[in-house]
């Protein structure tokens, strides 16, 4: 019975007294999926956990500087490598692949399974289009790749605005200041966005995979190991898939993981 609010703040004090919560650093794009994950963890007797969301870059840097997180759920693999340069990692694995979605308040013209980026871009007229920052945000890098693959990069570039992360990109579209945004599919599927924005998935083939990697830091507690094991488990994979992530066929461990209790 781990009733945790969407933000994971409510590691509720009644039982956190006897069981020290696992500190998990999670990339901001995981916000929408986290409630479901936490619920499942609770049912599986894993946890309790306390989640700190943040930009993966910030989180990685903080962990590298010794932040007391035991589990790091990054938005890409580069951040985990960065952490690995500074601290020993006990285990790491890709737990999900991010998918991009095109969202727009103005509607999409036609209801399509996958996006025809050229048409979508054309439909925005001279409106602004928001993407994550292609310099560092994993979804921003992917969005740029997708736009380039669709040969619309040069057409749209002058009209692009760069958000710190996908959530902010979505916000730009949500407030109506941007005509459209490329955000994560997981965000696009949240009730808040679905209620006000039309969305369409962007084909994964258009961009390099957004491999979201999880790391278990050296010296982690048993509880943390259990959290790690749960995230890379098929049960979690189902939840990720439902939330709009692509799931790595069999979760492929980069290093052998210790046997988990689940």
């Amino acid at each position: 019975a781990v009733a945790v609010a969407g933000l994971g703040i409510g590691a509720n004090s009644a039982w956190s007294a006897n069981r020290k919560p696992v500190l998990v650093a999670a990339a901001a794009n995981l916000r929408p999926v986290m409630p479901a994950l936490l619920a499942a963890m609770g049912e599986a007797g894993v946890g309790p956990v306390r989640i700190s969301f943040g930009a993966s870059g910030n989180l990685a840097r903080q962990i590298a500087q010794g932040a007391p997180f035991e589990v790091f759920m990054s938005a890409d693999r580069a951040r985990v490598s960065f952490v690995a340069e500074h601290r020993r990692i006990e285990a790491q694995a890709v737990y999900a692949r991010g998918r991009l979605a095109w969202v727009s308040a103005a509607g999409l013209g036609a209801d399509r399974e996958t996006a025809d980026l050229a048409a979508l871009v054309a439909a925005t007229g001279d409106g602004r289009v928001a993407i994550g920052n292609p310099e560092h945000a994993p979804y921003g890098i992917a969005a740029r790749a997708a736009l380039q693959s669709a040969n619309v990069w040069s057409a749209i570039e002058p009209r692009l605005v760069f958000a710190e992360n996908v959530a902010q990109a979505a916000q730009f579209a949500l407030t109506g200041n941007a005509a459209a945004a490329i955000t994560s599919l997981s965000l696009a599927r949240t009730p808040e966005l679905r209620a006000r924005l039309a969305s369409v998935t962007i084909a994964e083939a258009l961009h390099p995979p957004i491999e979201q990697e999880i790391a278990l830091l050296a010296g982690a507690s048993d509880a943390a190991r259990a959290v790690y094991a749960f995230i890379v488990s098929p049960a979690a994979a189902r939840i990720f898939a439902e939330a709009g992530y692509a799931v790595p066929s069999p979760a492929k461990p980069a290093k052998p993981t210790k046997p988990s209790k689940s």
Partner: protein, 224 residues
């Protein structure tokens, strides 16, 4: 070095100070000399932009700028286009965020001018404007310089609000502080450090100039 971002930052800091300091003189003087009912309330209101986290402030500005709502429509009409993601937009955001820094120090320095000096100016035939220009402004000078320095420094360092309403467009809304943040996020630590150093040295130089101007403008304290 991100030349564009540097120029944007300097331009933004300069314009913000240029607009806010006269406003601060007007508002600070009014708060210092006038007695009216809701004065305490207004004084607190002035501090409001400080209380809200910059990103939150930025978010609400973004909502205000949206073409969908009446405020946004009005803005669109006035400025002939949306303010979001434009230099005008971050300028307005920066103006709002810096109001406390402009008003407070100037208000205090006007409060420190004795009434009898003001009255002596009137009796000498100076009208309101001349009194302001020739007597009050020179005496309030230290406070005005403090305000200018605080506003400029804070604008150079402003991040959250501008990130929120600016959309990080190079040459338009990407400021130096956002450029540094981007470098840090991209793990280009050395580059971030370099830009930070340049920002610091440039700002310190600018502030030193401002403070020196203050010192020459500042009247020595009276000897008994």
């Amino acid at each position: 070095m991100p030349v564009d971002a540097t120029l944007t930052s300097l331009w933004l800091a300069g314009l913000t100070a240029l607009i806010l300091v006269p406003f601060g003189v007007w508002a600070g003087r009014a708060l210092a000399t006038a007695q009216f009912a809701g004065k305490g309330f207004v004084e607190t209101l002035v501090l409001l932009p400080l209380i809200l986290p910059p990103t939150v402030l930025g978010y609400y500005l973004l909502v205000a700028f949206a073409p969908a709502n009446p405020v946004g429509q009005a803005i669109n009409t006035v400025f002939g286009g949306s303010l979001a993601f434009s230099f005008e937009g971050i300028l307005i955001a920066s103006l709002i965020a810096n109001v406390p820094f402009a008003v407070q120090p100037i208000q205090r320095s006007f409060e420190a001018i004795p009434d009898t000096v003001r009255e002596a100016a009137w009796v000498s035939g100076l009208n309101g404007w001349q009194t302001l220009w020739r007597i009050e402004l020179p005496l309030a000078w230290p406070g005005i310089v403090t305000a200018a320095a605080l506003v400029m420094a804070h604008t150079l360092g402003e991040f959250g609000v501008i990130l929120m309403v600016g959309g990080n467009i190079p040459g338009e809304t990407q400021t130096l502080s956002i450029a540094i943040y981007d470098r840090l996020q991209a793990f280009k630590t050395a580059e971030a450090g370099l830009i930070s150093a340049v920002l610091l040295v440039a700002s310190l130089a600018a502030l030193a100039i401002v403070q020196t101007t203050a010192a020459t403008g500042r009247t020595p304290r009276p000897r008994p």
